[in-house]
Each structure stands twice: as structure tokens, then as C-alpha cells.
Point group: C2
Amino acid sequence: MRRDVSDYSSKLDTSKLSGLLGIPVHRISGALKRKTLQYAFSKPELFRFDKPVSKIEGGTSVFTGTYDIVRGFPKISRAVMLDPALRQHFSSCKKVAVEEKMNGYNTRVALVGDKVFGLTRGGLVCPYTTEKARKLVPLDFFRDNPDLVLCGEMVGPDSPYVPKSLYGIESLEFFAFDVRKKMTGQPMPVIKRRELVEGYGIRSVRLFGEFYVNEAHAEISRIIRELGKTMHEGVVIKDPDMVVSPVKYTSSESNCSDLKYAFEFYNDYGRDFFFGRVCREAFQSVEWDEDGKCLEKRCLQLGESILLPMVKTIKKRKAGERIAEDVRIRVMRLETVAEFEEYLRILGVDAVFGEPEKVGDEYLVRIKKLYKSTTDKTGSILNGGMWS
Amino acid sequence: MRRDVSDYSSKLDTSKLSGLLGIPVHRISGALKRKTLQYAFSKPELFRFDKPVSKIEGGTSVFTGTYDIVRGFPKISRAVMLDPALRQHFSSCKKVAVEEKMNGYNTRVALVGDKVFGLTRGGLVCPYTTEKARKLVPLDFFRDNPDLVLCGEMVGPDSPYVPKSLYGIESLEFFAFDVRKKMTGQPMPVIKRRELVEGYGIRSVRLFGEFYVNEAHAEISRIIRELGKTMHEGVVIKDPDMVVSPVKYTSSESNCSDLKYAFEFYNDYGRDFFFGRVCREAFQSVEWDEDGKCLEKRCLQLGESILLPMVKTIKKRKAGERIAEDVRIRVMRLETVAEFEEYLRILGVDAVFGEPEKVGDEYLVRIKKLYKSTTDKTGSILNGGMWS
């Protein structure tokens, strides 16, 4: 049975929200109508902005019970040619602060009513992230700063979204990279923010230092090459005062690793995902003035990142397997497993949950995420189907 | 000044066209309204189907003066895994005929009134193709067969669309690969068609032979490897009676050559163009059961086909050049140059025509096709712009 959308719209006091966000009521009703502002089957109940509306970022959540508002995490622009991008973007700054961009998933931790919740980039309350956030972030932080949202990366192998072992983390850790006003999204200067969270024993992402804008290019190129060697993702370059917006820049190794991952599930990933990553490689090669040998190595790496995972996928399917990704979560409460399973179901993720295994005082649950589109497309072609 | 669309719609007698095509009037009016059936500023005046409507192929042209109708050339499906595709697609045939797929541009030559015209795949009358068609196809063919359309590939270095030198052609040649009823699109059996055009001295694309369906896979794999060695494109596999629709299959070398071309103009080409070609490489590698060395070579070739042309483009732009493609045409009449320039202008192609150079009794005109999107995007990033 398809329920009427208005059932949900009536849950939202649009004039109240208009006052809180400072945007006209008709923009809010318009967004509701176009489902840009949409009801989420979530606990606690919320509406979230799917895309930006006026000055409100996509991923902004409005909790209907308490009218807590958590502003979305702003999109960070990507530098492709580092040197000109730094000079252009940070022309009004003397220095930039360079922090590590870790490869996990973006999480905002905030108070809703008197409880802590973990929100994903899209503005949904993820039950698993919430359990982890409550464990990893001391409540004192929010007792002292109820109006702040703590933004950071959830990193480690026990990640259902981006499982990575490269950081030497056993399960899942939280690394702060931003503290913002919950209601307005206003950020805190870099050093002040790092000191604030440190006072509560919360880890921050690595700070490589502050550099003069006109010297930053050489420093960051050096850092990126070092990070690449250990498959680390890259850096976020920030105005120390957080007035000018940050810029990200990533290593070729991490870029190729993304391609490897995506081509394993080639028909489930957007084509823009591939295209952007391929183009970055060409610009970096020109910026680094690569000669024949270096460029050949980069070409081989790019080609391998594309073809090898796809060949593996086709062979798997040929052997009758369904194309899937193995991830795992580790929880203290079995209820979280059930809630997370329901959460993925609502998101439309096709996942098969294994039986919980007791590990110490926690439960490890292995999850198989099924990639239906890649499974079907590959199967169809193996059976003689045409590309189109 | 933007002219009213109805100005043009009134040029078409929809009930007459409905009778000729055997589709309801309201489908035709609907197509006109959605501009799926659109007026073309062309000599002679015509309406063309931009996309399929009912059973009418995209690229079908309706000439308003004479109500000549030339049906669009049907889209040919592509085999990705050759063996299962052949068994599946040609299950009702005993044999298949294998003809070369040449790398040029698809052309239909037909009578409109009492004159011969050359139509592009999209259903437009190209003035250059028309001049060439009149030179290369004896008028006798159409005097004897006014109800037929001659379909083939215009191939050679003097091609403004797909200039290729690999066939040892001096200027531009026409190779027939299909003869169809102008009004219905009904095709002629392969051998009958080849004999018919041969009788008029018209060249056909190469016929590799007829093979039993269950043996065709090995033969075609062998042919494709041979063709690939000389950068030839591939084959079209046909039911000899042309009852079952044809299927195309191409070499990895031609595939990579397409990628090389497209990545030189990376921001002007659709992302699906890249994606489809990349995926073919993976499936061919699995079907050919490639081992480490072979697969590594394929990866390097793929990576080089993507990165090297893009690096070249970025360096060119860095040196201040606009990104452009050099093509040329060779005409007998200078009027054709002016008409072709106007034709490209209407198509929205930004091209700079050089002065005609007398070569024998013809004129050679060099044309620079400008790729604005790639020029602008590359320039923006070199100046410190962000990817997005």
C-alpha cells in the first residue's frame, strides 16, 4: 500500500521551521512538494533536505519532536591542479592549515533532545553510527556544548559503508575534523576546534601543519606523495579561521583504489564517479610534469584499477556467484543489529545479515551487501545479451 | 528572434504522413509537439524523427516537397560476449554472413524527387555527403531502383566526421553494406544485395564469408584479431536473409582508438561513451581467457588510451591553444563548401574553414573543429578552478 505523502507533510510545522531557518514558508512547502525536503522513517522522526534549498545545505535534518535542527555538512570543493587552485581559492588568506582526509564515512554527532545521535552525510540517523557515537564521544562534550555538532570520520574495518584496515584500527574509531553550530552550520577556527575536542579526549584527524599559501603547494605535494605510499586518501586544506571554505586534494593511489572498488560493482556506480577520477589522474600527471616512465606507470595503474576488478566480477558471476561486498559491524547491543537491518531495508540496500558472533563483550555481525544491477547485467551478457 | 515552432509544423501534412507511414495522426502531432519530429533547415526541406516513434526509426526523413520518405538506419545491437551472443541471437539461423564494419560515417543515399541526396545517420541532408554520393554512386542505380535506399560507410581521410587513413583511401570512398526499401526500411538478403550493387560498379564492404552459427565464434574471433592488428574496426554479423537483425562486434584496438579520440575532447563527449568501451574490454578479456601478461598489456593499453590524449590536451591548453580537431573536405564545387559551412553552423558545430586549396580539379578545404567545452573546462582548472 502506497501511503499518501501528505500524511507526512502534516507532521511538519512549516511556519515554525520557516522561522527557525530564516527562509520563507513557500520555499519550505515547495521543497516538501518536490520531496527535496522529505520525511524519513527514522527514530527519532525527522525531515531531511535531500538537496540544497536556499542557503540550507543538503543533508540538513529537522527533528519533528524537538525541532532540533542539524545543518548538513557542506560539500567540499576538490582541487585538481593544486598550485593554481591554492593561489586562487585562498588568495585572501596568509596561511592554510592542512589536515588529513581519512577514508571512512562522514558522520555528524549531535544532541537531539537530551540524547546523542549519529547522522550520516545524507542527514539520516544511522542506528549503528549512533551506538558507536555514544560509545566514542563523551557525553560531557554535549552537556557543555549542546548547541554544537561534532563532525568527523568514522574509520576502520567494522564499517558497513567504507571498511578500511589501513589505519591500524581494530574496530571503528571517530576522528573529529569540524565543530559547527548545530543550527547555523557556522564552523570553529581550526586550532580552537582541535583544542576543544582534545579537552574531552576526542581524537582529531592528523594536522600536518600550517603553511604560507605561497609555500603550501610544495608542502602538500610532498605530503600527498607520502600519504599515497601507504594508500592514505589525502588532505583537506583549510583557512585556519574557517572563513574561506576548505578544499580537498587526494592521492592517485586512493583515487585508483576508489576506481578498483567501483569497477567491481560497475553497474551500480554512477558514470560520473569513474569520469571524475580518471580526469584527476591526467591533471595530476601534468602538474607533476611526469616523464615517459612515470606516466607509463600511471597508465598501467589506471588500466589495472579499471579492468582487474571488472574481470574478477565477470569471472565470479560466470562461476554462478552473486556480486556482493562483505562488510561487518560490531555492536554492544543486539537491538542495534535489528535496527540497522531495518535501516538498510528502508534505504533500499539489499543486505544479508549473518548470525551475531560473540567477540569479547561485543557482537560481530557479517553482512553481505548485494549488488543487484551488476549481478544482473553481468549475468545477462554472459548469457548472450547485448550491451544495448 | 525566436520563430514560432508552428511556422514549421504547418509545412507538414500530418494526415498525409499518417497514411504514408501507417501510424495514427495523433502520434505524429504528438511527436511534432515534443519535437521528436522536427523541422530541419535543410535543402531540400525536411522533417526528421529525432527518436523512434511507434515503429518509425530515429533518423527517418520526410521531405515536405515531394513526400519522399527515407527510413532511418536501424540501431545495430552490440555483442559483448561473442559466443553466447551468437548462439542466442541467431538461434533461428543456420548460417551467418560476416561483413567488415568500416570506420567512417553511416550514409544513406536516396532519390528525393529526381535528384540523389546523401543523408547522415540523424536524417539530415549533408551537402558534402551529397556531392560525394553523386560522384561515387552511378545515377543508373536509382533510375532502375527509385524505391531503394543505398546504405553504406563514407570512409577516408577527407571525412569531416570520421577522418581515417588506415584503409589506403586517397580521399573519400563509399562502401555499401545495406540496400533497403526507402519507404519501409525492408532490407535485402546479403548476397542479392552485394550482387545488385556490384552490377552498378558500387563497392561493398568486405565479406569474410558465411559460417555455420555454431562455428562462427571461432571464425569471428580469428577475424577480429586480424582486423585489430591493422586497427580495423570490426565486423557486422548478419542473417544472410536479413530476417534476424544484425549484430556488431569490434576489436579492442578500435575500441581503444575511440577512447583515445574521445579523451582528447574529454568534456565534449558523453560519459556513456567511455563507460561502454571500458566495459567491453573487460568482457573480451574474460571471453579470451587472458592470462597475466596479456591482461597486463590490455590494462596498459586501456590506461594509455585514456590518459595520454588527455595529458596532451591539458598541455596544449597550458600552452594557450584552443582544443580543436583538424579535418578536411575535398570538393568539386566551391558552392558545396559554403553549403557545408552553413550546415555545420545550423548543427551548432563551431568550425573554422581554411581557404580552399586547388588540388587537381578539386578543392581541398582544411577545417578546424573547435571543442569549446573541453577548452573551457581545461582552462578553468589550469587557472585554479575546482572540479566541482
